[in-house]
Symmetry: C2
């Protein structure tokens, strides 16, 4: 059967209703489109675990700051649909902003109900330089969960803070689904897959390669027995291309998300940089 | 069949799961217990509309301010269960705070995911004198919705702002249920039913009677053709017992919740007062 492209919430809900009647397990892969091999791995995982798979494609305005790349974020719905078709997803849900938030709606928290992750979870890492971002993410993900009512939802480990926040939200609000984290997919040279990689010039692309190189160097030293975060930090920074502007490079416990000084198994090493106007993130879980 | 009292989320969820398999319609009546005839009317309505009825009884700590009556709020679970039994509810869900929020949990928004209603909807009426209250309400109601997964949830019109905020939340977050508003139930002398009426001394009870009197006076004048909010405000205030401390008396459009100067059909006249340490609210919809 072919994948179907739906733009309206009601259409999705009525499909889901039929599936639920037949007791089918539903998987959701929430994306902003511009699908790449990283997304493909999520969709394949969903396909393997669920009877029906919904891929949402929505560039969510409320998770972008005023000076961020909402307008220029790549939109490639035909290609996205094609990929979903090839992997065997059942529905591509690609609503408009109007469909999701209503017409002429003021998208601020004065006019819309928001889901707000705990302050301690957002006042760090990407949240620090993107105020409001994770409120927007938690809100749209809640909406998608309510629309699709999945048994499983699939999130990439690349957005580690997002994954952590979504898991916390599901627990705190007693949501009826399980979050399935999926490993980072990389280009053959090590660069983490990202829709934002398409922004990079050839020169920038070369510089960006030093991000994953820095993480792999941390891993190498950790595997040799070095656990002092200061040493690992300095090493990573020395590997980074000088054209990169470092936003953060942090070591956190993968389970509690607390900062650690001494690196151990399950330490998340997370990095964010700016290259020109492009912001890229990457991370590695040690051990 | 007898009503069953459940204290654990998992127990409720597994009951609901069975019901859903049989395609039964589930109704939820969220309460803080100390049930009175107002609650009874909600449960009866739920019983009439649904195959299965869950009454939640939970004094929710996160919707009380630090100087409010969380500790002294009446708790009468045996009587509550009895009433639910008589009306024919199926489950009384009475979790502990620990069950709902976890052990040793800091209940602030630094550690917990909150659902936050729009600022314009909470920065007025009861929200103005109860900062954080409606965040706590929206959060616990979302949790209860996710636990019980009702087709219908029943809310009293007495908490008009709460009802408005919950309806907005359901719409904004695409929740899969319908909110059923139920009319205010009054004592024979007109006082709106409230669990907090039990706080009142005999003297205070007499003063409190002037709250509904003031609203009925507004209604009488409106029915005579008086639509100027200033006149109606002054009349209402003149009826109020002098021992009452007025928090607000406002005229708002029942559908948009915007303030109105000229009263018309569907104008909500809402009032909040303090009598001694007790805060009481009441309202009337004109026309």
């Amino acid at each position: 059967m072919s994948v179907i492209l739906l733009n309206h919430i009601d259409e999705v809900k009525s499909n889901i209703k039929e599936w639920k009647k037949d007791n089918l397990k539903v998987g959701l892969v929430p994306t902003m489109g511009a699908l790449h091999a990283g997304h493909a791995s999520l969709i394949k995982k969903a396909k393997a675990m669920c009877d029906k798979v919904v891929v949402s494609v929505f560039v969510n305005p409320v998770q972008f700051g005023p000076n961020e790349d909402y307008d220029k974020y790549p939109r490639t719905i035909e290609k996205d649909k094609q990929l979903c078709e090839e992997i065997g997803a059942d529905i591509v849900f690609a609503p408009s902003a109007k469909e999701m938030y209503g017409e002429n709606v003021n998208l601020s928290n004065t006019e819309l109900t928001y889901v707000c992750p705990p302050y301690n979870y957002i006042d760090c890492l990407c949240g620090k330089s993107r105020p409001g971002h994770f409120d927007g993410v938690a809100t749209v993900v809640t909406k998608l969960f309510n629309i699709v009512q999945p048994d499983f939802a699939f999130f990439g480990q690349k957005d580690a803070q997002q994954l952590f926040i979504i898991k916390k939200m599901v627990k705190d609000l007693n949501m009826n689904l399980e979050i399935i984290p999926c490993p980072i997919v990389r280009e053959s040279d090590g660069l983490a897959m990202s829709s934002r990689n398409s922004y990079l010039s050839i020169e920038e692309r070369k510089s960006a390669l030093s991000i994953s190189k820095a993480l792999f160097e941390v891993e190498k030293l950790y595997n040799k027995g070095i656990t002092d975060s200061n040493i690992l930090f300095d090493t990573a920074v020395s590997v980074l291309d000088k054209k990169l502007e470092l936003d953060y490079l942090e070591f956190r416990d993968f389970n509690t998300f607390e900062k650690v000084d001494k690196i151990s198994k399950n330490t998340l090493t997370a990095i964010a940089v700016k290259i020109g106007k492009t912001r890229l993130i990457d991370n590695i879980i040690l051990g």
